[in-house]
Amino acid sequence: MNLIAAILLSVIGFTQAFLDPARLLQPPTDAWPTYNGDYSGRRYSTLTKLNQANVDSLGLAWVFRLPADRAAQGGGGNSAQVIKGTPIEINGVIYVTTPDHVWAVDAHSGREVWRYIWPSKGGWHIGNRGAAAWRDSLYFETPDCNLVALNMVDGKERWHSSICDLEQFYYASAAPIVVKEHVITGVSGDDLDIPGYIESHDARTGKLEWRWYAHPDPGTPEAKTWPSVEAMMHGGGMTWVPSTYDAELNLLYFGTGNPQPVIAGQGREGSNLYTECIIALNPDTGKLKWYFQPSPHDTHDWDAVQTPVLFDGEINGQARKLLAQASRNGWFFVLDRVTGQRLVSSEFVRTNWALGVDAKGQPIPNPAKQPKSDGVLVTPNQSGAVNWPSPSFDPDTGLFYANAARAWSVYYLYDDSDKPEGWGGNDRGGYSEAMLQAIDYKTGKIRWSHKWPGNGGLPSAGLLSTAGKLLFAGDPNSNFVALDPANGTPLWHAGLHANVTNAPITYELDGTQYVTVGAGDTLYAFAGH
């Protein structure tokens, strides 16, 4: 290689706005380069600079407040920005999103580097889970059904590619995940009985490579879990939350959302594959490897899209490659991630809707607790025992953490016709107790449970655990808290202006470990001093 090329290469290598994709295969330390920090979904950092001995020194480094938007287009939004996504941090710059917006923020000072606004044509502006990076491109999804690629250096648009159809009441909120040179996108939309799916787009050009629908092909044995092809092709299964990925097995893992019509299930008898399933897919071809269904024939809107966390562990003395999910319906599952075989099924909060589990380890829905015209009392409620906020798995404690609630509501059926469409019902009202559950993955038993005092609403905050023996969480009382992951004792906290609304990240910059979290419209960066 000649001298000029070598110099050019070294410039690129040290360029601020560039992510070497090899970084995505390593645990996050000096970067948080993808939604979950790395592909495993553990949200566990090996950094130990911050630890139990010095966590008292953790103090505010800076605050970045997102400016209020002009009125969001397309309905369902308001002018205040809310950070519901996980920012990514690469080479000292943080990239944070809200619907239609991306900001690049200097991780040293909290000052804006650049801002990008997508001109929206509509779609529900319910939230945006974050951006993905690959080399010098930044990708994010828009409510009006586009995957947008920006130049990471200056935030200028490179291209955009359609990922769904606004006309059919789809919209997009998920964070993309980049695997090799595939940008994996998910879609949303619960209003009008449409099929859910996941797509892969070429990272350089945005061209569609494959689409996997959350329903079987007509005529296959799995299609018999629907009463008709028409019901199956309008059956939902949205892909709300980003995937995890095992590079050795070359498998992408994600959950699918609720079947549709959402509440009125009488027109879709059967277990409704592949709705509310954990899916293993080949990212090069989009071919299904295996599936497991946390909620057959659900009628409560309990998307099984919670992060399928990947870790290696031991079950009954045998070393195995594992996948664990604490699902919205209140059940915790540990599967063999090679085959999909169920190893553990247990409740991580007490529920009242299942009649035990079937031979595959999948809960059996109690017909008496499916929605009725005069109302049935169900726990969890529609928001779930957990929702989209991220869990964490700590390999040091062997505990899977879920920021959960035990919540009740009454489910009503509004449409009892033979062919309901849309929702056809809803839940109403309720009571809720919030708690951080620490689950022993080998048995599914609760090792410890920290009840958040006071306001019992389902926490909107995700979790982060570290090798410094710290578990970071937001409580439902506007606090950002560090707990002892072994027993749930609070060790440190900061009182914020609002509840944490995203999941915290951590990274080391110039010898300092930062922990950065979003609450409402504000990004707070804490540093060990």
Partner: protein, 246 residues
Amino acid sequence: MILQLLAGAAMLAQPGPYQRQKVDPEAARRGRAIYSQYCINCHGALAKGTDSAPDLIRSPLVLRDRLGDEIGPALKRLPGHDSALTARQVIDITHFLKEQIEATAKDRSPVQSPNVLTGDIEAGRAYFNGAGRCSDCHSTTGDLAGIGRRYSDPADLEQRFLFPRRSKPVQVKVTPYKGQTISGALVRIDDFEVSLRDSEGQFHSFRRTAGVEIELDDPLSKHHELLDFYTDPDIHNVVRYLESLK
């Protein structure tokens, strides 16, 4: 005539490439009548399709249509649509179909309140005074007298019975380390602080350091515990009974 129709179309059109067609209720009413005459036998009373013809609510063609620009050509092209509808009639049908679609997309709200009065009054009375032990704290001639009159919608009564709102605050007693106990109405509590107002209205606030003791008394705790105890028939019986107390 054509110009007038087009002008009419322009008046009804909504600007912007994505925006959904704004439903004209008058046109939708006319469209429903046209639909009932020409379309209903095959496409069904609620446009959800039959064995003979597809669902028009979940149809991508209908969803894409704006004022007949897709439906008009489809009616000419697709078999089984022999009747010659005028352009005006086609537009009216689109308003009817868009109205049906909008109603479906909004049906997570009820059109009318659910009928929750399916229980048995006597069984409800027996539960109230027996297994439910409601009469331990409540009286049908006292605090619950005439409760059936207080809610115009029995579903509201059902909600308030299951998930009562706080009329009395949680009581709290805080004893600082080697200090005197202060009690009152809880203002706020988390893992780190607790605050209250005492009987004279004074505000007190404490850090929850080691040795600070806290006792909470929630008047609603019994209701919360009962959520694990009721059966759905119990609930419907009690609601029916309470609703009868006029």
